[in-house]
């Protein structure tokens, strides 16, 4: 009797274990090809989020039998905090998008894969803006490809200009400064000629330095040029206008500068194509114009988000295929038309399909004059937040003269250069 009971319990136990095993142990792969899953992390959380989502869906549809891309989208600040730690422990995504300035850090840490093979088979190096292409190459190898590309232009409020008796945007630096004074007034309802942000922003002050022939650092990154006479001259002229004529609020973050322009409290702003949709929806009567030309000739700032591949990704070929597909003309045209960004290809400026969004061609035409800020410098973040921004702010708040502040900043920056 005891033996029968034991056998019955034993049988039930064996059955339970067998069922559990069948459920928990995955089936062996069959002879047919299996789907390759790619993970893609990016920070496209703003108005361009639906555009990127559609792009990824299109890729999955086109490659439904072999490759499937899943996105993880988060704010850029969170992405940069999470990405490095994830790569360091081997848990990073196959493909990631981040701003170009971070590339040297990741390359030096040995976390991302060179993609020279992609440039040999599919990615057209000749079509990438030259300054961007130079920044993607480190130590003789390419480590990324463009995800998007942007240039900055001068946004100007046509209504505020007309009220001040001005009919068009300034074309020279002297006109820009004169117009900024004319457009500024204090009192109960203050208005500013221009909204100049100095932190947490796409950099604006470097453009003002470049306009005058000044600069931040030498081309070979060996020496800071913050204390160069033309840099000091440029910053001094704008600092005087801010202190004496209140042409701009001080201490603005980028989002605050955007609010001033969008709230029609500032008549001008130097900004990128991402602002066009917001300002259009706010029914601001505005247009964009090339950054006024100074003694150094036409110049503006460029910015790019790039795609990189995890060095330890088990799906390198699939990841390269995704990156190459992203940079093809139809995809670049789609991103441009939906976002207003110029295409990250110089061979599309005469593409008639891009005429549907008038801002695209305007921003694209600035590419030949556009320069990257602190690109290629491993310590760019520390230089920008701990050296340059405090220097500019100390000038804006009259804590130091431009010459003294910039000389101190140059010394600090030289200590951080390679």
């Amino acid at each position: 009797m005891l033996h029968r009971c034991f056998s019955s319990r034993m049988a039930r136990l064996v059955c339970a274990l067998a069922v559990s095993a069948a459920v928990l142990i995955p089936p062996q792969a069959s002879g047919a090809a299996s789907m390759t899953s790619l993970t893609f992390w990016n920070g496209f959380t703003g108005p361009d989020a639906p555009t990127i989502q559609t792009l990824v869906s299109r890729y999955n549809t086109a490659n439904h039998s072999s490759i499937s891309v899943s996105q993880n989208v988060m704010p850029w600040a969170d992405l940069m905090t999470k990405l490095l730690a994830s790569y360091a422990v081997g848990q990073g995504p196959d493909v990631a998008a981040f701003h170009l300035q971070y590339l040297p850090q990741y390359v030096q840490a040995g976390l991302i894969a060179p993609i020279d093979d992609a440039y040999s088979h599919g990615l057209s190096a000749a079509a990438i803006p030259p300054d961007l292409l130079r920044s993607l190459k480190i130590g003789g190898h390419y480590y990324g490809a463009p995800a998007n590309y942007a240039t900055l232009m001068l946004y100007w409020n046509k209504d505020l200009f007309r009220k001040a008796g001005l009919s068009q945007a300034p074309t020279t630096l002297a006109q820009m400064q004169a117009d900024a004074v004319k457009l500024s007034h204090q009192g109960a309802n203050p208005q500013y000629g221009i909204a100049l942000a100095d932190h947490a922003t796409i950099p604006m002050w470097p453009i003002l330095m470049w306009q005058n022939g000044g600069d931040v650092v030498t081309a070979d990154h060996s020496k800071s040029l913050l204390a160069a006479p033309k840099t000091i001259q440029a910053v001094t002229s704008w600092a005087t206008l801010i202190a004496k004529d209140h042409v701009s609020p001080v201490g603005l973050a980028g989002a605050e500068a955007d609010s001033y322009f969008q709230g029609q409290k500032a008549a001008m702003e130097i900004n990128g194509p991402w602002a066009t949709s917001g300002y259009t929806q706010a029914h601001i009567n505005y247009d964009v114009a090339p950054v006024p030309v100074g003694p150094a000739g036409p110049v503006t700032l460029s910015d790019a988000v790039i795609l990189v591949i995890d060095k330890h990704s088990p799906n390198l070929a699939a990841a390269e295929s995704f990156v190459k597909w992203w940079n093809q003309k139809p995809q670049q045209a789609y991103i441009s038309l939906r976002s207003g960004f110029p295409p990250a290809r110089t061979d599309m400026t005469s593409d008639t399909s891009l005429q549907k969004n008038p801002f695209v061609i305007k921003f694209a035409r600035q590419a030949p004059y556009a320069r990257f800020y602190l690109a290629g410098l491993k310590n760019f973040d520390k230089i920008d937040t701990d050296v340059i921004t405090p220097a500019i702010q100390s000038i804006e708040y009259n804590r130091a003269s431009p010459a003294a502040a910039l000389r101190k900043a140059a010394t600090q920056m030289n200590a951080l250069l390679p």
């Binding site: 905090t81 840490a109 309802n189 001080v250 201490g251 709230g263 973040d381 937040t385 100390s394 708040y397």
Partner: protein, 312 residues
């Protein structure tokens, strides 16, 4: 011969007091530790181990980006001693604490006393005061940023209507930290009020009745009965408010980012900047160790000042 009853009682009592044999005592102690083990594991993994780790990191040149982490001894601490930005941030943190803690402990006290009385609408006022405590700090910081805007902010508008001067609160190095302190006080008053209210409600009514019989005034009852018996609660809110003030991060990060000109940067925002923006984990850990030591000393001092006892 029968044992004397007293002696028998003593023997029984001695056994009842648990004069266990050594083997039984050991089992009882082991059982106690086994019951504590889950909590000790959680505290060990999530509290003590990270503390030991940051001490370890602080003795190395440690970065996520680097592949090797050389031992540097006290170099990080020497660098910190000569770091003017650290001393500035410590000054800001102390200033914030000195400004916020007394206000957030003393201001809720009369409110708690008032809300302990049978007032009409008492439940509404209790909820209204407690609302900031349950609101997201980061979200409220965004709201306050808009309220404090000089051109379009509501607070600035009302001040202008009352002919008070209006400053660019968050962009003026002289006003940015006081503005954030105001937000800090606003955020903690409600929570401390609830804690103090609970403490007041725990004071037996008999003391007040006896004092009333003896002819003590309301003020005398407050200072002679309420305050002394509220000592453990006051100690609690003071210590927790101080710890929260030293760890202030959300409003600084959201409202000013530590600016303008580092006038609002605190130790924790500096730790975040070094550790998560510049990825210098070693240096960030060094600052964290110093912050930990400062808070440890200050907490010990407070416990001494409040004459902390075990039963508290």
């Amino acid at each position: 011969m029968a044992m004397p009853i007293a002696h028998a009682s003593v023997s029984t009592a001695a056994r009842r007091r648990g004069s266990l044999r050594p083997h039984g005592r050991a089992r009882a102690i082991l059982a106690s530790y086994l019951f504590m083990l889950p909590s000790l594991l959680v505290i060990g993994v999530f509290m003590f181990w990270p503390i030991l780790q940051i001490v370890w990191f602080s003795l190395h040149q440690w970065s996520f980006i680097a592949t090797d982490h050389p031992y540097v001894g006290a170099d990080n601490y020497r660098q910190l001693a000569n770091d003017s930005r650290f001393w500035g941030d410590l000054h800001n943190t102390l200033l914030f604490t000195v400004g916020v803690v007394p206000a957030s402990v003393l201001l809720p006290l009369p409110v708690a006393v008032a809300l302990n009385r049978p007032l009409r609408g008492r439940a509404f006022f209790r909820a209204a005061y407690f609302l900031p405590a349950v609101s997201s700090y980061a979200v409220m910081a965004i709201v306050w940023s808009l309220l404090l805007q000089p051109d379009i902010g509501l607070l600035s508008r009302y001040l202008q209507l009352l002919h008070f001067p209006v400053a660019d609160w968050l962009h003026d190095p002289s006003w940015a930290l006081p503005a954030i302190m105001l937000v800090g006080i606003w955020k903690t008053i409600g929570f401390n009020m609830v804690i103090l209210l609970t403490g007041i409600q725990g004071i037996p009514e008999t003391y007040y009745e006896a004092a009333q019989v003896d002819g003590a005034s309301t003020v005398a009852r407050f200072f002679r009965i309420t305050l002394p018996l509220l000592r453990p609660t006051l100690l609690f809110v003071t210590v927790t408010s101080m710890i929260a003030s030293f760890q202030i991060f959300d409003p600084v990060f959201v409202m000013t980012g530590g600016g303008p000109l580092f006038s609002t940067e605190t130790l924790v925002t500096y730790i975040y900047h070094e550790g998560f923006q510049l990825f210098d984990t070693g240096y960030a850990s060094t600052i964290a160790c110093i912050l930990f030591l400062i808070m440890l000393v200050l907490t010990a001092v407070q416990l001494q000042v409040f004459r902390f006892q075990e039963e508290d």
